[in-house]
């Protein structure tokens, strides 16, 4: 298969005396659909924070697209091609939906282009998400799924090589989960590498080509969805025995 787009090598993160990540090593290949699972508090979001640059890892290295990310600010990483969503959606609440998308477009993917072009770009992304008719609405009136979709749409507007989706499906109904999964598959087919963090096993197993499982900050399993689903360690981590 293709070469590694992201190499996480012995990444460690401590909060005071508490070790949230302990020497995590893994690779994500270009074009891959990659699943990241683990029980609550196992360090999934912390790993994403270290990759996206909102936290600095205390040990180990992260290489993206051949470039060491050490000391690189989050916005530079976004420009380099890594964009993440937030587990709890963080819309720009004083802006309309389309203006939310215009921020990454204006600052990253369509930097220097005319406002009308940026608006067209944002509109076409909203269309693929089925949110075009909401473009000029405020974010305050959005439903749970719309908020999740906006969070994804805004990240996609940055045109990332690697999209990291942190629990984009939490709180959604079965149909909505399928809808969001399909959206992510569509973007993957256009060449976007995607890391999906998810508690909804059905979705993450259906989506991913490869899955890793974290437990208490340690990587305990890595493999295809089939292998992971049969893994005794993963089962134990989730059942808490």
């Amino acid at each position: 298969m293709a070469e590694a787009l992201l190499k996480v090598d012995s990444v460690t993160k401590n909060f005071g005396g508490f070790t949230a990540l302990s020497e995590v090593t893994t690779e994500v290949k270009a074009g891959e659909r990659f699943g990241l699972i683990g029980p609550n508090g196992s360090g999934k979001t912390t790993l994403i924070n270290c990759i996206s640059g909102t936290l600095t890892n205390d040990g180990g290295s992260i290489i993206f697209d051949g470039q060491d990310l050490q000391g690189m600010k989050a916005h530079v990483r976004t420009a380099a091609g890594i964009t993440r969503t937030f587990q709890i959606p963080r819309p720009f609440h004083s802006m309309t939906i389309i203006d939310n998308l215009k921020i990454p477009l204006e600052f990253v993917s369509a930097s220097g282009r005319a406002q009308t072009e940026i608006r067209d770009e944002a509109m076409s992304i909203l269309e693929t998400m089925g949110m075009a008719e909401k473009a000029d609405e405020e974010t305050s009136g959005l439903t749970q799924i719309e908020l999740r979709k906006l969070e994804l749409a805004r990240a996609i507007a940055a045109k990332p090589k690697l999209l990291i989706s942190d629990e984009a499906m939490a709180g959604l109904t079965g149909n909505e989960v399928d809808e969001v999964t399909q959206i992510l598959i569509n973007f993957n087919e256009q060449g976007m590498t995607i890391i999906m963090i998810e508690h909804i096993m059905r979705a993450v197993m259906q989506f991913s080509q490869r899955v890793i499982c974290l437990d208490a900050g340690q990587l305990i399993a890595e493999g295809t969805p089939d292998i992971i689903q049969k893994d005794k360690g993963v089962e134990r981590a989730y059942l808490g025995v």
Binding site: M95, D99, P104, R154, A158
Partner: protein, 324 residues
Amino acid sequence: MLQRYRFEIGCVVALLACFLITQVELNRFYYFAGFAILQYVLISTAWNILGGYGGYINFGTAGFLGLGTYVAIAMIQWYGAGIIEQIIVAGALAGLLGLGIGYITLRLKGVYFAIATLAIAIVLETFVNNWDYVGGAAGVSILPPRTPELLGITIVDRKGGGIFYNNKEWLFFLMGALAIASVWIARTIEFGKLGRGLNAIKDNEEAAECMGVPTLKLKLIATVISGALMGVAGAVFPSYLTFVDPPTAFNLEFAVNSLAMPMIGGTFTWIGPVVGSILLGTVQQVAIVTISSEINLLIIGLLLVIFVTIAPHGIVGWFMKKNK
């Protein structure tokens, strides 16, 4: 055509109005009150660039303003600098002060920035109190030039040979021009990339950074522009007052008003601080004559509480909602 340049035409009309007012020989009190109000338009607009657009509260307006005032005094003492030179240097140094404070504290959470700005007015005032060259704690008297010139043109001449009849009128006009310029700058920022980035920072800084907004850089730019404009507002003070002491230059009222006026007018758009300062500035000037100047902080405090609870988006926000 006219629609499109409505704002620019408005600026020219306002500038002309300021000029005409200086030519009608009003009672001196009106120039004094007008000067104070225009100065507040400038200060509030400056404050709002960082506080309103970016959401970073600056409690140190008096520090930036006082720095501008004392830079101007030092330049007058040193070589009798002209007012335009004073404005440029005061603006540049106040901008540098913003850069320094911003660089140290803007990496941290907003609270630390607010606390640091609160401290600078106190530090600077203490420093000036002990600096005799600019008058120290006792203050200093400034003798403005009798017939100032600008690019070879006589600006003020009591005998009628200049554009203005006296210095107060000229400085009133100058403050008007500076206030209008600041509003123009704020509006340009608001409708540009910087303004949109600052708004994203205000809404959610971490999300903004992750969406590619260089948050620290934008905050620093805003702090420098905001601080520089406050320094400019301070630079005109010595020539206007002709006597300045530290309690006047570093008056806490500047800090309170510069944040209350935009908040009451509406912080999300350029016109908010303008409305806030004209309205509250007028109320305060009337209160000074009819009651006392001590009542001003009470008035502004009460209004601030009322607005924050009833109309959190200020007067402008309240009207815009009604129109929807």
